[in-house]
Point group: C2
Chain length 413, copies 2
């Protein structure tokens, strides 16, 4: 942006050896970066880290790396410590990764360059905010630095799929968006009945899709069916589910994860979309385009449930950084995760995890390897065994995380 309020630090200065330039060797240098998909509160985590670093050492040099590890590798930093507190807190309240993000998953060679970038600025700690890939990067960096730099992973993901965490910063806000969307669409379909399928982000974990159920009003309310990656998708069963729901409720609201797969583990997009039309990313993963899946679902509805009014929408990116649906709890927890990451950096590397006990959510430090590269799936007992809907443990979990925000009146239909 043309009028961005702080300038990039001149790499010639930042890169100068200790004793010259900005770095005196007397004060700590902490580097902060953001990785993976942005969320509504990832900037709170950055702000929490900055505030804590300043509190511990008012002279600390606090550098923000642009676009995650790329910025560290390429010595592209902003001086977060120089940012006035009101500007910092405005950014904290703003969704998306203010430092920019990256999808890079560095290998050992890439990590060597990142490490060199950290050493160039005399970093004593590197706080990297992101998901399980980010934890993996920190594990490599921590080993490669031989413990000379505290590499701390601060959690972030709307997928809610980090092990060791009760839930992750970013999930509650995104979940609220999804819950409100499905509550609203269900009300809409009471007025003009039909079949609605809303496709929600989530490659391996169904938490965000299941959040669609959080604000159901009663047993008649949608979503009536949820399809998540944790349960094998079967076309015949799907059509039968919808038919029974239409018979019972006169309408059928469906929440479906982008990553739903058949019994062989092949994603629904892959099994329904002609191979030639599939796109793959640099890692060879099939791109789970919402409209690909949406088209496939529309074809199923047209073929097997012909004549019924239906609609498929793809929520896509809307839930993950929705400025209109930021949860205060999520914001506070994200800030605290960042603050805690700097606090624990004094004692070395690790991953910050939000844990829940005795009615309270608190950050804890766990080994990076516990989190790196692992996916937390939605527990099996969250779903009914025979129905595509939440069971009591799932309902209790979402009730706790996503207290109802809206109390609609009772429609006449």
């Amino acid at each position: 942006m043309p009028d961005v309020s702080i300038d990039l630090i001149d790499p010639r200065t930042v890169g100068a050896p200790a004793g010259q330039g900005m770095s005196t060797g007397m004060t700590q240098t902490i580097v902060i970066a953001q990785g993976g998909g942005p969320t509504a509160v990832i900037n709170q985590t950055m702000a929490g880290a900055v505030v804590e670093a300043k509190r511990r050492d008012p002279q600390a040099r606090i550098l923000g790396a642009l676009h995650g590890v790329r910025g560290v590798r390429d010595s592209r930093f902003v001086d977060l410590g120089a940012l006035p507190e009101d500007q910092l807190m405005n950014i904290a309240r703003t969704p998306s990764a203010a430092l920019g993000s990256t999808r890079d998953k560095p290998d050992a060679a890439y990590c060597e360059k990142v490490l060199a970038g950290l050493k160039k600025v005399d970093a004593s700690a590197f706080v990297y905010i992101g998901g399980n890939d980010t934890a993996g990067t920190q594990a490599i960096l921590s080993d490669a630095s031989g413990g000379s730099i505290a590499c701390v992973h601060a959690p972030k993901t709307i997928d809610n799929d980090l092990v060791e965490n009760d839930h992750t910063p970013g999930f509650i806000s995104a979940g609220q968006f999804v819950a409100a969307a499905f509550l609203s669409v269900d009300l809409d379909f009471r007025a003009l009945p039909g079949i609605y399928v809303g496709i929600v982000m989530g490659r391996h974990a169904g938490f965000l899709t299941a959040a669609a159920s959080a604000w159901r009003l009663d047993d008649d309310s949608g979503p009536h069916l949820i399809y998540v990656p944790e349960r094998a998708f079967d076309r015949v069963r799907f059509v039968d589910d919808i038919r029974r729901t239409m018979d019972k409720h006169g309408r059928c609201i469906v929440a479906m994860s982008e990553g739903v797969s058949d019994a062989s583990g092949k994603s629904l997009v892959e099994s329904l979309v002609p191979t030639a039309m599939l796109e793959r990313d640099a890692h060879g993963n099939v791109r789970l385009s919402g409209t690909d899946l949406g088209q496939a679902i529309e074809r199923i509805l047209a073929e097997d449930l012909a004549g019924k009014r239906s609609r498929v929408d793809t929520l896509g990116y809307m839930p993950r950084g929705a400025i209109s649906m930021i949860s205060e709890t999520d914001a506070k927890e994200a800030f605290e995760a960042g603050r805690f990451a700097v606090e624990v950096a004094e004692s070395g590397s690790g991953s910050v995890a939000l844990q829940y006990a005795g009615g309270v959510t608190k950050p804890a430090l766990v080994p990076l390897d516990n989190v790196a590269g692992k996916t937390r799936h939605m527990p099996d007992d969250f779903l009914d065994r025979d129905e595509n809907r939440l069971a009591a443990p799932g309902i209790a979990y979402f009730d706790r995380l996503l207290p109802r925000m809206f109390e609609p009146g009772k429609p006449f239909v």
Copy 2:
């Protein structure tokens, strides 16, 4: 719903001749119905009509017809007058049409049956809340009743496409949802650059799509391009627009109406999707499925802008009844439109229009034929002549209607 708080009126009672059953002939009977796509505030209009009817005649019989003219034809009513005020106001604050809606566009024969249904309950006035089709139904009914029943159309549509209106109830709330979604997605794409296309409802009018621009932060902000039904879509131009935007801003956020058409007037869905795959509704209109258009756009991006990260989402039904984004102004104007509809029913049939003069929005009564079957398009000067973006008059209009709700901080990227 099992525990709906007021029961359907027994048609045997309601249908009884004057002097028997509920109708005494001494008090007025007002019938209220809701038609077309639901909105976030159509229940405010219903509530406004009920409150005004009670105020004018505390003994008035106020009937709500279920599913629009269908309910009138089939004598399916609820007793809105019996509803406690707190329940009425809870419903007013709830999106979607609480009475149920219909897509029926009655012809003369159907209208005869509707008229019979109105006479059966001794209706002196019929307030029908909806879009231009609804105004058309009222025009037929008004003529057929020979002036014996005041047939008043109260405006409602997220498309904002009713002539005689400065804007329509439902549009501001839906517009806020769209503006917030694009502000959020633009922030997201600053962090992870690429091309984003969000597809927004709107068959003939581009107002809702253009609302995506309302909360842009500065000249760098998205949406960078908007495509509306009022301007012919050209694939070569589209690709070129995106390429130039990517060069200039490093990302490209696009808001596109479902109803965009090529120079021959053929909708983009029709011209891009194989004919065999097109679905048509009962009126022969091609179903403008967001995912059909989304797929077509994804193919264009894959073919002509290969290798660029891109994503297409379909906002679909989410904006129109979003419980999270109801505008207080919209709610008040919708309530007032319903109240005014009952006030003017004393002097005969007509269409209520929200007009703007001297800085104030006020309802006025206009002839039904002025509104029936007509579509208000976005004025040509709302768009730049040569660029797919808003020009000053468009910016001024959306600034007035959609005051900014969020002041984000400045990202570093």
